[in-house]
Symmetry: C2
Subunit: 258 residues, 2 copies
């Protein structure tokens, strides 16, 4: 584990151990198992089941794929009120349109608000039935609703997939606390990047070999060198790569002259 991984693990424990996933009136125990797996991959552990239609069974254990500790620790209660009584922020998952609009978050905003609160207090994120979600009465017990954006023509998101998306955003929020703006390229690169002078030295070397090979007419170079310069600059070469390329050019040059 890298130092950064250790920092993320410590922070994710601080921020995510206060976040509870509540599943209301779930029909299929397999979905409870998949939910436990989804939670554990993202570092969550507190699962509460409100009046599930069937108890945790072998199918749930199989689907949890080793996240049995989450299933074993899961509490079962009779009502949503019991599930969230110690939570300071309760967010319910919801399809978009409701007769009375409620404060509505997307999953990213849900994660931001959750980890602001979970530093000190418990947060519950509540997921409804497989077929029809949460009732209006249950949603009215929540301070905010979260809606996962979906294809309006086919919004049939599996409940464990919904939990995966919400928990993924929580983990992304934790990681961005440690590393606010990861780079596109060159993260954890093993070699130092080449300097502008080193890249320039290579391009000049390449041009020499191109002329020696009679590929390039030095009287009429056109744009070919500019195109090659753009290509190699764009790839942000490291020092070892530039050395390898120059080694190849030197060998070719020697061979052509011999």
């Amino acid at each position: 584990m890298t130092e950064q991984d250790k920092e993320i693990t410590a922070l994710s424990f601080d921020l995510l151990s206060n976040v509870r996933v509540v599943m209301v009136n779930t029909t299929l125990p397999g979905n409870i198992g998949s939910a436990a797996r989804a939670m554990k991959t993202m570092g969550l552990s507190d699962l509460v089941l409100v009046d599930p239609k069937k108890p945790i069974n072998d199918e749930a254990v199989a689907r949890s794929s080793g996240a049995t500790d989450i299933l074993e620790a899961a509490r079962q209660v009779a009502t949503l009120d019991e599930a969230v009584e110690d939570c300071s922020l309760v967010i319910g998952t919801s399809a978009r349109s409701r007769s009375i609009p409620w404060p509505l978050l997307n999953p990213r905003q849900c994660a931001e608000r959750t980890i602001l609160t979970s530093k000190r207090q418990k947060v519950a994120i509540v997921f409804g039935r497989e077929d029809r979600g949460l009732t209006n009465e249950e949603l009215a017990k929540c301070q905010a609703h979260v809606h996962i954006p979906t294809n309006p023509d086919y919004s049939s998101l599996n409940i464990a997939s919904a939990i995966q998306v919400i928990c993924y955003e929580l983990r992304m929020a934790v990681e961005s606390e440690v590393n606010p703006s990861p780079e596109f390229w060159g993260v954890d690169w093993d070699k130092e990047l080449a300097s502008a002078q080193e890249i320039d030295g290579f391009i000049n070397h390449l041009e020499t070999v191109m002329v020696e090979s009679e590929f390039l007419d030095p009287e009429n170079p056109r744009y070919v060198m500019t195109r090659l310069r753009r290509l190699f600059n764009r790839s942000l070469p490291d020092k070892v790569e530039i050395n390898v390329l120059r080694g190849i050019l030197s060998s070719i040059s020697r061979k052509m002259k011999s």
Copy 2:
């Protein structure tokens, strides 16, 4: 469907119909079905299977939960090269550490890069085997790798869940093109928010009733009014809510005087 939904649907067709999900050497047909469902919920449709261990079967159809059009249209090919030959950007999913580091994206960055390219050209996102992902040789065929952040102590992400997360970020990227900075509160609110003057009028009315009821001693109000002001301001009340609250106060006031 709202106007904004229509705009998102049109844009998601433009940007996501060029994005292909490639599953390499999948063991369980059920996972192919779950993947089709995950793709369709987010608006993707192009699925290519590289040498699956078993063909699409009843379990796959059951798990696709109605996304059978994706399964029916899925192409099956023998090699990864065939699957991506017409793609200009190929991104492979990978666990973090590799002996030779590769340009590494998180799922959000993967979505940003993908929709920059998919406006004009095809993009493939490649998912490996359930048990051991993509080989180093397969990963070396990719321009970039994407890593889904996970709990370092338990990174057993289900393959359909991984596809769900990647496709979710693609949909978020499309939606943010239409609506770059959604508000926390008050999105699609049905009533106009109350003005500062209206809120102030209500607070003064409330204070009057509190004095009439002898809850509040006007000679010694302490901080109670400030606290109530903070509470109601924070909730960003709308005009109808303020009217309802003032109606309640008026009724109470009349009753107390009668």
